[in-house]
Symmetry: C3
Subunit: 338 residues, 3 copies
């Protein structure tokens, strides 16, 4: 793509040679002469003179701060969000992988598939009474069980399993190996020590604009729905148990586990490997740091840390004391003896 | 289903109108007028007057405690286990998803498939010399490798992988994305720092009445068998390494990891994200709480907690001290100074 | 296989009856009379007289230490590595599962498949412009998306997903349920609290002799490559985020999580369930023990332990103090009062 075309799409101002050909994006430290890069963070300004990139997206402010340059620039108010758009221009869209419905896909006669631009890949299975909306793409080897409903503009990567009766909204992205709607882990103990299964009759409901990372599992509710609200972003290998509710625009990093019936608020951030026990509530705007264990409800927004979650300030003090605990003990004892 | 039919199946006593149509189960707080709910726990009795449910299953005791009511009731000795049966009546059985052997399934001529009610879904692969017992259902896109044996009344959800020579008993349920029989993680270090694979020649043996949650992985033994005993229930994303033994009726929650050759007793409960190191033993009737690290054998039944597992009582005291540690330190120091 | 044949392949010296038939390997405690076992570790010498094994591989040193025996032996300098070879002889090679390209595999006309001994199983999907090298085997139900490249002597188990543009070297083994190349977890926050996806335009590059355990996930880079270097061994359910680099011959146990842009050195060992935050570096020859949280770069080789990683010696002292903390507190207080 010509640099001038890119600049035009960004409504930017071009400095230098707009006719050069840009073939990819790069990091400012390592970009090649046919690649475009950007400077948004002042920490990276030091690379401006050194970079071999064919073009750089910069802010108006930065541009005003430099003297003459022989670099090719696109000047924008917001170079970061401009660069995101450029990333998108050069993405090899997985969307182009599949076009139309592959002859090897097994689709129930009772399924209702929109006739407006739906793609279903090889070896997919679509069960009875499933509904699939406009512009949705399902890559090869996925299984969508009976009565599941999938909205519009949904993109599902290979080897995904969606159980019966689950509902996926619009503009949802689901990565490979995800399982949606497996049975909640519910058993009642018999008097002989064995367990009786509690039937899991509910489903999973996933609202619009959700993204779900690879090999994540979301269990169906015992009764009612496990609910992932609008705009939630879930990383890889996250476990979400039955009857959990995740509020709007909450972000959950990899390997987090959320136990049954926990209710997570809106706009929360949960870092990697954190664990949240069942039947508690976490209020809106809460941040849980990595590997934290949350065993009680959180009712006050803030940042929580620690093997047993507490406000981060308190945890940092505890960690500071623990690091010096041996010295403190020795000191206390020796004072004592004197 | 008519309320009177449900009551009959439960051998209950009906109060009110047995001819109403019940179409689903509901929670007492939110059930609709065509749904049935229950009261077993006195905490929920407060909802009795408020619920909009079409019918309520209650205990004889509770029924005797109320005055005249215009609600429709089923009166039972044990309303909880009655409700479990009703849940089952209204479950949309995944079992109904597949009937018979789909024409797209690839089944080796050398496989021995029972001719009594086996269902094998679309795009499944069944290898040489596999055996599959009566009434077993395998949903679409599963792979069963050579010489694997699967018993009777087994139910396998989509996208499961079972490696060669593994043995699955009767009445086992396996959820989507499970991998059974992948190689144990065994490598011997070469003198140049690289690693040589230790061949993993054993298998996995899964006994009757086991349930395995989605995306769980169970590795084959180096020699002999990784063994999951009768009645074990395993949640999602659990990792069970080579040569592990899990005793009867032990329950393992999500994201637990059990390292090589660990031996877990009978009737244990292991909560979410706990980790158990290799080559240790955990005795029968042990409870391990969430996120606990077990690095030594446990020889005395009880409840164990903590980043490094210890008896729960001791851990709770430690946590109490840690919460006050800053204050204690300050107090000790100021006393000292005086 | 006759014992004499086994001995010949190992260039060993046979004692006893070389004509007996050996059908499997066994542990010395439980081996049967048609099985072969070994003694390398002196701890197991006590089983020598008791074992029912048909043959035992022993060291020259051990052989010289015993008197006459009626056991059948293979005497070797290094009985352990000899036994590894025997394990290999008796492995039921998964490689034999599939031969040639199955008629149900869907392979793009634009894919370039070596014509030298490639096997592709039933229901596989191979996208446009994929390359697959000599002697590579792909078991059933795998999906290899467009432009992915797979080298020689690669073995891929069922239900693996490899996204577009990823590159797999030679002699790589990938277990079931692995996902390679799913999108890195990158989102930019909008002013209304919702998130905008940062396109993940990079790929994953996996070098030679890497093994990847079941259900592990490796995300593609935002820009550039997530890089797994030569000889790395990865266990099950490991999560490797975008732009991570793992150095040569590093070993990573099950359920480890490595966050975005972390750089792990060569010859490291990372034990189960450890977590490594993003954007840090861990130097060569570092050992991280189980369940450790690493939140800062490690610049000095050694063993690191703890909920917040510190040198193991320091952590062991801390754990010792914590175990006695209640007693220490009581002692300090009572001294005070006196």
């Amino acid at each position: 793509m010509k640099l001038s075309e890119i600049s035009e799409k960004l409504s930017g101002k071009i400095i230098g040679n707009g006719s050069i050909e840009i073939t990819n994006v790069g990091k400012i430290e390592s970009a090649k002469k046919d690649e475009i890069t950007f400077i948004a963070n002042p920490l990276y300004e030091k690379y401006f003179d050194l970079t071999k990139a064919g073009a750089i997206i910069v802010s108006e402010q930065f541009f005003n701060s430099i003297n003459n340059t022989n670099k090719n620039l696109i000047v924008l108010n917001d170079p970061y969000s401009g660069f995101l758009k450029v990333l998108d221009m050069f993405s090899i869209h997985a969307k182009s992988q599949v076009k139309g419905i592959h002859s090897s896909a097994i689709i129930s006669d009772l399924a209702v598939i929109s006739d407006d631009n739906v793609s279903i890949g090889a070896n997919c299975f679509i069960g009875d009474n499933c509904k699939i909306g406009n512009n949705t793409t399902i890559l090869p080897n996925c299984v969508i069980m009976n009565e599941a409903e999938i909205g519009e503009n949904v993109f599902i990567y290979p080897n995904v399993s969606i159980y019966n009766n689950c509902k996926i909204g619009n503009n949802v992205t689901i990565h490979s190996g995800v399982v949606i709607g497996s049975d909640g882990f519910g058993f009642a103990k018999n008097s002989d020590g064995s367990y009786q299964k509690i039937p899991q009759t509910g489903n999973v409901v996933i609202d619009d604009y959700v993204e779900i990372g690879s090999n994540t599992t979301i269990d169906r509710a015992t009764i009612g729905s496990t609910l992932i609200c609008k705009g939630v972003k879930i990383d890889n290998q996250v476990q979400i148990a039955h009857n959990v509710v995740i509020g709007e625009n909450t972000v959950i990093a990899a390997q987090v586990g959320i136990a049954g019936s926990a209710k997570i608020g809106k706009n929360c951030m949960i870092a990697g490997q954190a664990g949240i026990v069942g039947h508690i509530e976490i209020c809106d705007n809460t941040i849980i740091t990595a590997s934290v264990g949350v065993s009680k409800s959180i009712t006050k927004p803030g940042i929580y840390s620690g093997y047993r979650a507490q406000p981060m300030k308190k945890e940092l003090k505890l960690q500071a004391i623990l690091r010096r605990l041996e010295d403190i003990m020795n000191e206390l004892k020796s004072n004592k003896i004197k």
